[in-house]
Structures are given as structure tokens and as C-alpha cells.
């Protein structure tokens, strides 16, 4: 039982390049989330999904796109990377129970992205 797996673990991009971050979970969770973590900023929600085929914007969605074609996968895309997108990206998943206390977030171990 791997939990939440993120691919790749590290990546260096040049400004303007594109890439896709992959998140896969094997817990049959309905909800999935993409966060970025920057020093002094805490976790900021980029996009989330409450089920296969559905996505919604979070706090900082600009410059990112997402897709949830399969329940177990949640993809985060950067179409034209910018240095401001240098960050550590975390994917998380939860069961669709109501209330944050009933459905703790299960995180992957992150993708460290540097845009030069």
C-alpha cells in the first residue's frame, strides 16, 4: 500500500518550458488536492478535485492546469514555467467524509521544482 505517490521527485525547468506532475493514490479516495509550499508561506492550495472528471480552483490557480481523468490520478500541468513557480509541490487525497476532522489529508512526499 503505497498511499500517495508523486512523480517526479525533482525537476529543473527553464523559463517557458512545460511539464506535468503526476499524483497517484491507491486508497480509493474521492478527493485530491495540489498544494505548493514556499518558505514562510505555508501550504497554498492550487487546485482540487472532488471526483473523477471534476476540478476546481484553489487559492493560487494562475499558471497551472489540472486534470482528473481517472479516480486514482490527479495531474498538475505548467504550460509555460516561470521562476515564481519554483516551489515544492505536494499532492494529497482524502475520503469524501464531511468535515475536516473526519477526513485527514494524506500527502505524498513532494516534487521539488526549480525554474531558472
Amino acid at each position: 500500500n503505497a498511499g500517495v505517490t508523486q512523480t517526479p521527485k525533482f525537476r529543473v525547468l527553464k523559463t517557458g518550458q512545460s511539464m506535468t506532475l503526476l499524483c497517484a493514490q491507491d486508497m480509493n479516495h474521492e478527493y485530491m488536492y495540489w498544494y505548493r509550499q514556499d518558505p514562510g508561506m505555508g501550504l497554498r492550495l492550487i487546485h482540487y478535485s472532488v471526483g473523477e472528471g471534476t476540478t476546481a480552483k484553489g487559492e493560487v490557480p494562475d499558471g497551472y492546469n489540472v486534470s482528473r481523468l481517472k479516480k486514482q490520478n490527479f495531474l498538475l500541468g505548467l504550460e509555460s514555467a516561470a521562476p515564481s513557480q519554483t516551489s515544492v509541490y505536494f499532492c494529497a487525497s482524502t475520503e469524501p467524509k464531511t468535515g475536516v476532522l473526519n477526513s485527514p489529508l494524506h500527502f505524498g512526499n513532494g516534487t521539488r521544482l526549480t525554474v531558472t
Binding site: Y33, G40, S103
Partner: protein, 113 residues
């Protein structure tokens, strides 16, 4: 002003000490409070949660909420080197979902053997 403030540290203490980690918040509607622990180069994991006011104890860890002061604390007794990590607080209003959580920036804790 951020909705949730958390001192980034690092906080360095000797093994065996009692550690106090804190967050302050501005939204009086928050009633669900969580502490996540994040080891270096790993994702956060839920450590403890409390609802509304009061204390909650789990082994060496105690979570405390003071709603009148808009202040939450995590106490670690008999601290161990394995407790070295970044501790994130998170909170929401009643009925809130995980995508509505407000996060602190995290406090880095170092326990010296």
C-alpha cells in the same frame, strides 16, 4: 495580515525538554484546529486535532486551544530527537472542507541529543 501566524523558528531545544509550539489566528469563526508534522523532504502527516476550546492529550503530545485569545498550542513532553520536524497548524470554520483549510507557515523544531 495573515489569517494564521506561526513563528518559523527554528526552535532548538535539548532532548527531554518540554516544547511549546504556537499559532495565532484572526478569524473567530475557526473551531477546528489541526497539527500536522512534516519531516524533512516528506509530506505532512496529521498529528492531532481539536475541536473548539480545551485540551487534548495523546501520549507525549497535548493540543490546547484558547479561543478567547485566538491562540493554539502544541506541547511536547520529554522531547526526543525523532520529534525534530516542522510542525504546521491548520484550521477551519465549522462545516469547512479540507480545501478550505487555512495553514500556518510551520515551525521548524530541532531536538538536540
Amino acid at each position: 495580515q495573515k489569517e494564521v501566524e506561526q513563528d518559523p523558528g527554528p526552535l532548538s531545544v535539548p532532548e527531554g525538554a518540554i516544547v511549546s509550539l504556537n499559532c495565532t489566528y484572526s478569524n473567530s469563526a475557526f473551531q477546528y484546529f489541526m497539527w500536522y508534522r512534516q519531516y524533512s523532504r516528506k509530506g505532512p502527516e496529521l498529528l492531532m486535532y481539536t475541536y473548539s476550546s480545551g485540551n487534548k492529550e495523546d501520549g507525549r503530545f497535548t493540543a490546547q486551544v484558547d479561543k478567547s485569545s485566538k491562540y493554539i498550542s502544541l506541547f511536547i513532553r520529554d522531547s526526543q530527537p525523532s520529534d525534530s520536524a516542522t510542525y504546521l497548524c491548520a484550521m477551519s470554520a465549522p462545516g469547512g472542507s479540507n480545501y478550505q483549510l487555512i495553514w500556518g507557515a510551520g515551525t521548524k523544531l530541532i531536538i538536540k541529543p
